[in-house]
Symmetry: C2
Subunit: 409 residues, 2 copies
Amino acid sequence: MINVAIMGHGVVGSGVAEILIGHADRIASKTKTPVNVKYILDLRDFPGLSYSDKFIKDFNTILNDGDVKVVVEVMGGINPAYDFAKKCICADKSVVTSNKELVAAKGAELIKLAEEHNVNFLFEASVGGGIPVLRPIAQCLAANEITAVTGILNGTTNYILNKMIVDNMDFSSALALAQEKGFAERNPAADIEGHDACRKVCILAALSFGKHVYPEQVSTEGITDITLDDVESADNFGCVIKLIGSARKLSNGRITASVRPTLVSRDCILSGVNGVFNAIMVHGDQTGDVMFYGKGAGKEATASAVVADVIDCVKHIGARKYLSWEDGSADFVDNTADLATKLYVRAVSSDFEGLVKQIKSIFPGISCVKNKFRGEIAFITDEEPESVLRSKISKIQNADSVKVLHTLF
Amino acid sequence: MINVAIMGHGVVGSGVAEILIGHADRIASKTKTPVNVKYILDLRDFPGLSYSDKFIKDFNTILNDGDVKVVVEVMGGINPAYDFAKKCICADKSVVTSNKELVAAKGAELIKLAEEHNVNFLFEASVGGGIPVLRPIAQCLAANEITAVTGILNGTTNYILNKMIVDNMDFSSALALAQEKGFAERNPAADIEGHDACRKVCILAALSFGKHVYPEQVSTEGITDITLDDVESADNFGCVIKLIGSARKLSNGRITASVRPTLVSRDCILSGVNGVFNAIMVHGDQTGDVMFYGKGAGKEATASAVVADVIDCVKHIGARKYLSWEDGSADFVDNTADLATKLYVRAVSSDFEGLVKQIKSIFPGISCVKNKFRGEIAFITDEEPESVLRSKISKIQNADSVKVLHTLF
C-alpha cells in the first residue's frame, strides 16, 4: 500500500480526493498496489464528508510522516505551495501538482531538486487540464526535434470569443455570461489579459525546447481590445479570432514566445476548437503537426490528470520519469526576432476615399474588404518580415485609427 | 550502449534506420546511453547506403545475438512477422512494431509473452502513425473509465472523401488522384473497404476496454458506395461524410465496434480533420472528450513513433511498461445491441409526390430536404433505438432506392 497526501481541498483537490477514494479499486488495478489517501491538508473544516477524518491543518504532519510517499499540491499560488513542494521533495516524497503558476515560476528548480532526491515531480494537469500533452511531448515525440508549439490554452477567453463569433455578443456581455456560468472568475484579469495562457506557454516551451521560460519573457496580450467589428471583419477573410499562445524555435537556437489574439483561418483545425475546449498543436521535424484537444479546465478533467500523475508516481517509486528541462536564461527568449508573417490590418477614417487611395499605394495589389458606411477598410498583408510590414503600416497616415492583429494560416 | 536490430527496410524501416543512425546524438540524449543499429534484416540489397554494412539476410543472426536487446519489426503482414516477433520475445528481446495487422491479430498473445519474459512489446505507431494515442490512453487517462473511442483512422479514405467534399470530385477520380499522389496503394482494397481502419479499431478497443478484439468482430463497411449525391446531401444538413471507426462500452460490460461511413456535424471537431490527417477522440468518464490529431501515416511520422517506442524500451531495459489487455472472447463484442441513434435517410422515387407523402406519414414532423428534379428526399431521423428506426425505414415502399447512413452529432 502506498500512502498519499493531498494539500488543498478546493475544486481540483476535492476532485482528486473523490477519484482516489471513490474509485480506489480502479486505481489499484492500474498501480497493482492500493493507494491510500492518508491526509488532506486544508485550513477549512469539511464535517459532512465521508472522509472528513483525513483532514489535518498542520503541514508538518505530512512532511514528517515517512509513510507518505506521494504528495499532491493543489492549493494554487506560489506561496506556500512552493515552500511545501520543496520541503516534500527534500524529504524524498514525489510531488504532483496542477499549479501552473508554480511550475511556470519554479519548475526548473523543483525538477532539479527531484532529480537529486530520486523522486518524481509531475505536473501534467498544469497545462491542459484533462488534455494529455506534456507526457506525449516528452515520450511519444521523443524522436522529434520540436520546432513550434501553438495553442488555444485558456478556456475562458475561448468561450468569450466563441460567444462573440457565434452569437454576436459583445465582449462585456460575453464575459458576464462566462462569469454567470462559472467559466470566468469574478476577477477575470488572469484569463482575459492572457496571464493564464502565458504560464502555460512557459511550461510548454520549457518542455519542448529544454530550458525554463519565465512568464515575463513571454510577450503577452489579452482579448480585452477585441470588438465585434474585429470578429465580423475576420469572418470576411474566412477567419476566426482566437487567443493563441505560441513558442517557436529560431535558427539561432533561441526561441520566441507570445500570447496574443490572432486571426486563425477556418482551414486550420484550431479554428474548430470552440467553447471552453483547449487545443495544443505541436510541430515536430519528423511527425509534422500533432494536436491534442480536450477540456482545459474543470474539476473532473483536471483531477483525473492529477490522479494519472499519482498513478505514475506510485508505479515508479524509486525510479525517475524523465520530464525535465534546464534553468532559463535572459537571452533564451528573443521576441525581437524579425520573422516573416502575414498581418491583418483594419483602418477607419472619415476621409474614406483618401484612406483607400493611400493603402492601395502602400500595399499595391492587396485585396481589401471595404465598408464605406463605417469608413473602414481591412486587409491581410502578403508574407514579409514583420519589421517591413510594421514600417509600411506606419505610413498609413490618413486613418483615424489602425488596428493590427497577427494571423495563423 | 544498447544494440538494436531492424527487421524490414521498406518505407517505415528505412525511416527508422535514418532517424536512429542520422540523429544518434538526439536519441542518446533521451536514452542517456548510445543506441546502435547492429543489424538490418532485408532480403534485398541496398548497396548505395552509408549503412549498407548492417544488412543481413538471416533472421537467426539477430535471434542468436544476445547483445541485441531491442528488435524493430517493420516488415508488415502476419507471416513471418508473427513468428519472428514471438521468437525475439522468447529470447528476452523487447519488440517494437508498427504492424497493425500483427497487433490486431496477435496482440494479446504477444503482450502476455512479453510479460512472461519481462521485456516490452510496444506498438504506438500501429494505430495513429505519428499521432501519440496508445500511451496517452494507457497512462494519461489512467484515472478514467473510457466509455467510447471514435476516430478518423485512415488517411487514404479521408483524403478521397475530402476531395469529393471540397472539389466535387467523384469517387473514382478522387481514388485515382490519391493513387497518383502515393496516398493510396495500387490495390486500394484494404483502405477503401475499411479493413485498415478496422484493425486500428481492434487495437484501440482492446487498450481502452481491456480485452482483445478481433477484426472479424468489427462490423466493417468501406466508402465505395459513397457518391457525390451523398456528399451534397450531407452538406444540406450541415454535415460532412467521414469514415468513422468506433468502439463503445455497453451497460452490460460488452462493447460494440464498427467502421462505417458516417455523417459528422460540422459542429463536431472531427469534421475539420481533412486530407490525410487522422484523429482519435476518446471519451473518459472524468475528462470528457479528448482528441488526438496528426498524420496517421507517412514515412517520417510513423518512423518517429517507432523510434519513440525504441527509446522507451532502451530506458526500460529490465522493467515493464504497462500497455496490455486480456485475451478476447466471442461474446465480448455485441454489434446487435440496440442503441439509440439518429439515422440519415435518402430516398429516390419516380413517384416523388407519393414518396414524400409516405415519408411524412412514417416520420411525422421531420424536416426534409427535397429535390423534385432528382425525385429525391433526404432527412435525419430523431433519436430512437436503431431497431425502431430500421423498422420504420423498411416501411418506405414508394421509393426506388433508399440509402441509410449513421450519423455523429
